[in-house]
Every structure is written in C-alpha cells, then in structure tokens.
C-alpha cells in the first residue's frame, strides 16, 4: 500500500487510497458491488460514514444513535442525511414511515455499498422491497391492477408525504390522473360546499375512490374485477 494513509477530514487523501485497506477484507457480502456503486464513483470514502477506532453504533457509523424515552434518532439516518438532504427532510412529513421513531433505517431498503438493482435497492424491484414488510400485497391476484405490479412508487412516496398514506398526489386526483375515461371519475367532484345545492362528494371525501374500491392493490375474489370485493 506504500506509506501511511491519513483519514482525517480535509487531509487531501483520495477516497480510493483511504478505501483500499478496508476493501482488503470487506469486498464481499453486502460490499460485493462496491466498485460499481454510485458512492464509489462519487469518491465517497468508507470513513465518510464509518469510524475505525471508536465504537459508536452497531455498524461503526460516524454518528451516534441518540436514544431518549421520546424517540430514537438512528445514527444511520444522520449519516445518510449528510448528503441526502431532501430525503432526510421528507422523513419529517406528516405521513411517514417509522424512521424518525427509529424503527426503520435507510439500509432496510437500500444497500449503500452498491447493488445490481435500481436506486441501490436490496431487492430486485421496488415492489419486492415493499413486500419484505407488506407480503400480503404480493399476490398474484385474480384481478391485478397493473400499475401496482409495476411499482408501488407509481402512487406512493415511501420517504414521506404531505398526503395521507404516503400518496404522491392527494386523493381523488391520484386516481383520476389515469381513470378519467368512463362514468364517475370523469366528473369533477367537489370536496366542500360550493353552492346551496352542491356540496362535498363521496367520491372526494374520506378515502375518496377507495371508499368503495378498497381492494385497489388487487383482488382474488371472482367478483372483484372492480376491486370492490
């Protein structure tokens, strides 16, 4: 390796040089794809996220997990949040996964050391990732809803949303972005009283479309073609 390597912040040492000693042992298992990972190509050093000499958290992360009786601020979220500023902010949305409560961390879905999958996901598709906790939605079903099969993220923003149920767009507009071809979805529906005779509509309030089409993720009922059984 030729000479001493310093890991101090701002030392000017290249990430490749700093990583070389680590990769001597840690280049298999979850680190198999490190050299092909976006983090490696962006010059991220192992010591940007991990510490060497000091025990901090379970994964030797460069931040401490902060445990209080009120909540748990996981070290991992702080480490990833150093660069992924938008994602870190999204965790504070009203509709969120239990990440700010310390129950889920980034590496439950992503492998920051690289993976052969999009967005460094641990599983082979977005949906497979979601099925690790939501196995009930895996199906297959008699009546499938194709956009659901292609990607949960067609409708949901898993990092946090201002809309209920992590929806990307508020209901019923989320559904009417595609379902405007026939009968009730094509008619604009009010959500509040707009005149003495026109008031809020069941197509818009509460769970809007899923007030009736509650099986929108897929149905195995012979009468469930319209996701109402």
């Amino acid at each position: 390796m030729g000479g001493l390597i310093t890991f101090r912040k701002g030392s000017g040492e290249s990430a490749e040089a700093q990583n070389e000693p680590c990769l001597g042992c840690h280049q298999r298992g979850i680190q198999t794809y490190w050299k092909a990972s976006p983090h490696a190509s962006r010059g991220i050093a192992c010591v940007n996220c991990h510490t060497l000499m000091e025990k901090t958290s379970g994964k030797q992360l460069a931040k401490m997990t902060d445990v209080t009786p009120f909540g748990i601020n996981r070290a991992e979220i702080e480490v990833c949040g150093q660069c992924h500023l938008q994602r870190k902010a999204q965790l504070m949305r009203s509709s969120h996964m239990p990440m700010r409560e310390g129950k889920i961390v980034c590496s439950d879905c992503h492998n920051p050391h690289g993976s052969p999958n999009p967005a460094q996901l641990k599983q082979t598709s977005v949906n497979e990732n979601c099925y690790t906790c939501h196995a009930e939605r895996r199906g297959p079903f008699l009546w499938e809803h194709p956009p659901v099969l292609e990607g949960c993220n067609n409708c949901h923003e898993p990092h946090g949303s201002v809309n209920d149920r992590l929806l990307k767009v508020t209901d019923p507009r989320l559904c009417t972005q595609c379902h405007i071809h026939t009968r009730h979805p094509g008619t604009p529906r009010p959500l509040s009283r707009v005149s003495p005779t026109v008031g809020p509509s069941v197509f818009a309030f509460n769970r809007s479309c899923t007030n009736c089409h509650s099986q929108a993720h897929g149905s195995n009922h012979p009468s469930g073609k319209f996701f109402t059984r």
């Binding site: 701002g10 298999r28 009930e136 297959p140 079903f141 009922h221």
Partner: protein
C-alpha cells in the same frame, strides 16, 4: 390524579434504583470475562390534549416508569469472544431487543425482537358492528330506509373501536466463517401484524342506489422469512449462492358483514333478494382479503478481477411467487343458484350464478433478474463502467374465463360482459455506460448514458417503450475542504405504440375499437406515456474551518408528457436545502438544516356525460370538439422543514445538555377549473378548487445528563410535540354523512350517501403534548 400516581411511582422507583446502584461496582469481572453496560430508568409525567393517535402513531409514550435503554457487553479478556445485549423501551408497545454474540472472525449470532405499533385512530372511530374475527354482525337494523332512520340508528348503536396495528418481528441471524474463504449465512424471521384499519365496503350498483359501510379491516398476518447462503472467496474471485423463502399466511382471509340497509330482519331473520333496493337486497356481503402466498428466490452472485484493472460482477436470481387460495363463490346471497328457493330468499326464483373456469388461480409468477457489470480503472484518472440488467416479471398464473360475467356487489344478474382474467407480465432491460475522467486534481467529470426498454404484455396500453438517458456529472474539489457535486440528466421516453384500446383482450365481449373509445383515445396514463424528464442535482459541503461545515443542495426533477392531451401533463419537483454544523468551542456545537420542497402537477380531464346539445355525446367527445366539458386541475404540495439544535458540555465531564427543535409545515393545494353548462350536459358540476390541506408539526427536545457519581447519571428531559391538521376531506367525517353530501335538489343529489355509514375517524387529528422525563442511568 393519574399523573400524580405516575409521578409518585416514578419517584419511588428511581429512588430505589438509585440506592441500589450506588453500591454497585463500576465494572464487573467474571473470571476471563468483563461485563460492562448501562441501564436507564425513569418516569414520564405528561400533559397532552387533542387526538393523541398521531402522537403515538409509531411509538408508546406512557405516563409511568420506563426503561428507555439497557446495554450489556460481555467481553473475554483474550478479546476472542463477545456478547452484546441492547434493549430499548423494555416492556412497552414499541420495545425492541437485540442480542448478539460470537467469536471474532468465526461466528456471529444475532437475535432481534422488535415491536412497532401503528395507531390510526384510537380516539373517535365508532361502528355498530360486533366483530368476531372476519365475521361482522349487527344486533339491530335501522327502523326504515331513509337517511334520518339511518342517522338515528347509527348514532344509537355505534360503539367506540380502535383502529391500530401491532407489528412484532423476531429474527435470528447467523454468520459462520470457518475459513478465510468460506462464509455461511442463515436467518429466520417471523413477523406478525395484527389489528384493524379502516376499510371501505358497499352494497348496490354504481351508478345507482347504493350504501357504503365503512368497516374495520381485520388483520392477522403471519410471515415467515428464511434465508440460507454461502459464499466462497478465492484469489481474485468470489461466488455466492443464496436462497430466500417468504411464507405469508393471512389468518383472517375473508370478511363477512351484515348489510345494514336490508331491513327485513336481523341475523337469520334477514331475507335476501337478488334485486338491490333500499330495504332489500343481500343480507350480507363477503370480501376475499389478501390470500396467503409464498415466495422463493435463488440468487447466484459472482465477481472476478480481470486483467487491465477490470472488475466483473454479476448476479442471477430466479424466483417463484405462488398463490393458490380457493376462489370464494361470487356471492353469499342465497337468492343465487339453481333449484328450490330457500327460506332465506325472498325472491320467487333463484338467479343464475355465472360460470367460472377454475376454482383457484394457480398463481405463479417467475421473476428473473440478470445483471452483469464491468468496472475498469486501467487508465490513470479514468473510470469506466458498463452494465446490463434484465428483469422479467413472468406471470404464469392461469387465465380464468368468466363467460357470463360477474355478480357485482352481491346483487343483480351477472353482468353481460365476458371476462378473461389477464396474468399481467412485463420485462425491463437496462443498459448503462459511465465514463469518468479526473481532468485536474480538483475536477472530475463523468458522462453517463442509459437505455431502458420496457415491454409489457397486452393488458396494458403500451407494449414497448424505450427511454434514453444521458448527462454529465461534475465533482469539484478546489480545496480538500470544499466539495461541489453537480449532475444533470436528460431522459426521453417514447411511447409510439400506445393504444388506449389494447385492453380488448381483457373483456372479450368487446372489440378493440369499443374499448379504445370507452377508454378515451386521447388519454395517456402517466406511467406509460411519452415523457421528457430533466433531473438536476447540486450538493455542496464546505468546511472552511476544522469546526465548521456548511452544506447545501438542490434537487430538481421535471417530468413533461409532450403527447398527452388527457391525463397528467407535467409534474415538477424542487427541493433546495441548507445546513450547517458548527462547534465554536470545545464544549459547544450547534447544527441546523432547512429544506423547502415544492411539487407541482397539472392534468387535463373531460366529463363524459350525455349531452342535450352543444357537445357530442360520450365516446365521440374530445378535448377539441368539447372544450366546455374539458376540465383542468393543477396542484402543488409545499413543505418547509427546519431542524436546529445544540449540544453543550456545560461542565466538562459532568453535565451535558442538548436542545433540539424540529418544524415541518406542509400544504397541499388542488385547483381545478372547466366543465361548464355550455357542454349541454344535464346536471353539470363545474370543476372547483379543493380546500387546502395544511399540517404543522413542532417538536422540541431538551435533555440533560448530569454525572452524579462516577457511574451514575441523572437524566432530565422535556419533550414538546404539537401537530395540527386541516384537511376538509377527513375533517368532515362522522358516522352519518347524509347532511354534508350534496343537498336534496342539487344536480347530483345522492340519497345513497344519506344511507351510508362511516367510522367517523379523523385520522389526522390535532394534538399537543408536554412530556417530561426524570431518570437515572447506571453504567457498570
């Protein structure tokens, strides 16, 4: 009183604990082993107001004695063996435990137990149903079928019900490394989710008369996950094989519920009829909840170091997704079938049940993933990467023919359409090339190109699409303490063979042209439509001083759908962020982050009613020939997020203090305009704006740790959390919605809503909580 008791109990516990621990040694020697760790115990008095479901959405904040954390470390003096135990929130609903033990470099064993509560509403949901597993019954029915009858009955009979889930996860992991080359891994996990959440159900036809009955969906899921793997690392190569199994079982696979609007009787006294109307129709309905299923996956991963500083990585995975639950009958309504009319049916004759070609789906999906990646660093300062990925979602489930159609919502004759279920499949190929060059000591430039080809089977509108992405990335490090990362990517997706009539294969009674027209030829669904995407990101981190780091970023994504007339036309996301970490003194550090995000979208739609003049009717209608019925909607979500705080070592090695404040203000606006009476349609409801959704969230945390003795700390904490929400779509919810739906005489008066019942839960209720903590932490 409750708070007083909690405080007394807390004080006594803390005092006892304190007296006990002051006599404890700071570290325990056990022969060849040393034991160290910590335990924290305290009380949490609190004052809270409002709807606290959201406060404890994923956590348990009790007004009693709590044990926030226990840590135990056992190390051998020879440093060859370790054992770690960590417990968080012992005994509470959100408790977790982690036990890890092993021998360095040889064996690692880990056991995890984690509980995650998920509260939707425990304050104000109510239901008139008696719930027993998946069987929901009513002990009475409304005295009549008017909205007023329904209102009086539901208000008299509905009882409080909690909408919440508990997730319990147990996991055991093993890693064994008998030689430097071999690694064996295994894990077993068991996850149970149990509870209930709101769930919509309805009887009757739509359009037409119907009644919605919002229920508590019963959940009792059990999932077993098994993973076995081995990997061998040779000189310059590795090979690994892994097997995963996920076995999901739904312990409540059906939900049967009484129809409150069949007023012929209660329980066995109720008589069915196949014709739905207020007061008659099916006595009960039945849902098929998520069926039990299994997934098995084999994954083979290999790497090799090739000549010329080239690394090769490849993964092949093949899976089985299986589901074969028996189909339920089309309906539980006893007025369907053949032969003698049973006493439970009020009809003069039975209505024929439609045919179905199979008794179960024999669901079988075979996902395949192949990846091959090459990375080359042969040339100085040049990095090259090429990758290919193929993902095939091969759905081999059997096609199910329903030649007579289906029974919709337990009533009416079978729908006239013939249906064929379609086991939808797709495949995706990705090819990517990246080349980076270190132009100077401080500047690295990268150019990337990606191609994605998506192939869908013909149940969707688009068979094939190609998306080409390209763009540069620059990493600029003018000094060792300054970093700028700038990236831009342009992606263009075609959708040349988009055909709104492609779904002809699903409903075999229709022609492709019929479907194209009924589905609106101008509609482009956003996930399939031609799209131009511009993605820009900027990140900077500057550390002008050893004790000061400034960071900032800007993420921007713009999706435009250039050939979309009806559907989503654009969505744009902007997210600038700023932050800093500053430690001006040895004992003081401050930090802060601010993020603003805005997401804009715009869509166009068309009302397709029967006109009395002006516009062509229904299927002949387009945005061009009927601008009066065309309506537009645009929306934006805007969120401000702030987090600031400080850590202070007020008295060196004696007193540490942290103050932290977080704030999030989110709003969601939906604007709409268009659809005027000029279309000639009857009962036109113009598109109007929705009331803006606003939610505010504040969190303030102050905590101090004071070292009373060499191994005992006093911990004090104060936590303030408030949340307020304004969402017209939820805030108006109550058990009976008859008086908020379109009033009688209005163009879309719907008496069905006056006969519907809801849980009346406000999932996003406002609250305010002040919570304290007084405790002791013992280190040993």
């Amino acid at each position: 009183m409750r708070r007083g008791k909690a405080l007394l109990l807390s004080s006594m516990s803390v005092t006892t604990f304190f007296l006990m621990v002051t006599l404890s040694p700071a570290q325990v020697d056990l022969g060849n082993y040393t034991v160290s760790g910590s335990i924290e115990v305290g009380g949490m008095p609190s004052h809270r107001s409002g709807n606290t479901s959201k406060l404890e959405e994923y956590r348990d904040l009790p007004e009693t004695v709590v044990v926030p954390q226990i840590e135990l470390f056992l190390d051998s003096k020879k440093k060859d063996f370790y054992l770690e135990l960590e417990s968080l929130k012992t005994g509470r609903d959100d408790q977790s435990y982690r036990l890890r033990a092993g021998r360095y470099g040889l064996l690692d064993l880990e056991f995890i137990w984690d509980q995650i509560p998920h509260l939707f509403n425990v304050d104000n949901a109510r239901t008139p149903f008696s719930m027993n597993g998946g069987n929901y019954t009513l002990s009475s029915k409304p005295g009549g079928t008017t909205g007023a009858n329904m209102r009086d009955w539901v208000n008299d009979n509905a009882q409080p019900v909690d909408l919440k889930l508990y997730n319990g996860l147990a996991k055991f992991n093993l890693r064994y490394t008998p030689t430097p080359g071999w690694t064996f891994t295994g894990s077993y996990g068991s996850q149970n989710s149990a509870g209930g959440r709101a769930f919509g159900a309805y009887f009757g036809p739509s359009p037409g008369s119907y009644n919605i009955t919002e229920l508590v969906e019963p959940l009792d899921y059990q999932t077993h996950n098994i993973e076995l793997g081995s990997e061998y690392a040779g000189k310059g190569w590795t090979l690994g094989l892994k097997y995963n199994a996920s076995l999901f079982h739904n312990n409540v696979s059906t939900l049967t519920w009484d129809n409150p609007l069949n007023t012929t009787g209660v329980g066995s006294g109720c008589t069915d009829s196949a014709t739905y109307a207020a007061g008659t129709g099916p006595c009960r309905g039945r849902f098929d909840l998520y069926p039990s299923n299994q997934a098995h996956t084999l994954t083979l991963t290999g790497t090799a170091n090739l000549p010329f500083k080239t690394n090769f990585m490849s993964t092949y995975s093949y899976g089985w997704r299986l589901q074969n639950d028996s189909f339920l009958p089309f309906t539980r309504n006893t007025c369907y079938g053949t032969g003698t009319v049973p006493a439970s049916c009020a009809d003069g004759a039975l209505t024929a049940l439609p045919a179905i070609s199979r008794g179960s789906l024999d669901g079988d999906v075979r996902p395949t993933m192949i990846n091959a990646t090459l990375v080359n660093n042969y040339f100085k300062d040049v990095g090259l990467k090429a990758s290919y990925r193929y993902y095939d979602f091969d759905n081999r489930s059997k096609r199910v023919l329903l030649p007579d159609g289906i029974i919709v919502n337990d009533q009416g004759a079978a729908s006239g359409d013939e249906y064929y279920s379609f086991p939808y499949s797709y495949a995706k190929q990705n090819l990517g090339f990246d080349a980076s060059y270190k132009l100077t000591r401080w500047l690295t430039a990268k150019l990337g190109y990606g191609w994605e080809r998506m192939h869908r089977e013909y149940a969707r509108e688009l068979l094939n699409s190609n998306e080409h992405s390209f763009g540069p990335t620059f990493d600029v490090r003018p000094t060792p303490w300054t970093l700028f990362r700038i990236a831009y990517k342009r992606s263009i997706r075609d959708a040349h063979d988009y055909d709104a009539g492609r779904n002809a294969a699903v409903e075999i009674g229709e022609t492709q042209e019929d479907v194209r027209l009924s589905r609106l030829a101008e509609l482009r669904k956003f996930d399939e439509a031609a799209r131009d995407r511009d993605k820009f990101s900027f990140f900077t981190q500057i550390s002008p001083l050893e004790n000061l780091t400034l960071h900032g970023g800007f993420d921007f994504t713009s999706d435009r759908y250039p050939r979309t007339v009806i559907g989503v036309q654009k969505d744009i996301d902007y997210a600038p962020s700023l932050g800093f970490v500053y430690a001006p003194l040895d004992w003081l550090s401050v930090f802060g982050d601010y993020n603003w995000e805005r997401f804009d979208w715009r869509m166009q739609a068309i009302a397709r009613n029967t006109g009395a003049g002006g516009c062509p009717d229904l299927t002949a209608r387009t945005a061009e020939n009927c601008p009066a019925a065309t309506w537009r909607s645009r929306g934006n979500d805007e969120i401000h997020t702030v987090k600031i705080g400080t850590d202070m070592e007020v008295i060196k090695n004696l007193l540490n203090v942290r103050f932290q404040y977080g704030f999030s203000l989110g709003s969601s606006e939906v604007r709409a305009s268009g659809n005027s009476a000029a279309s000639g349609d009857s009962g036109v409801v113009p598109a109007v704006d929705y009331p803006t959704i606003v939610n505010r969230w504040h969190e303030f945390l102050a905590r101090a740790e004071y070292l009373l003795h060499k191994n005992i700390s006093l911990k004090l904490g104060y936590y303030f959390n408030s949340y307020s929400s304004k969402d017209a779509g939820v805030d108006i919810m109550k058990l009976w919605m008859g008086d908020v739906e379109t009033p009688a005489g209005g163009p879309n008066f719907n008496s069905s809503i006056g006969r519907s019942i809801f849980l009346g839960d406000q999932g996003k209720g406002s609250y305010q909580a002040h919570i304290g903590f007084v405790g002791l932490k013992l280190k040993f």
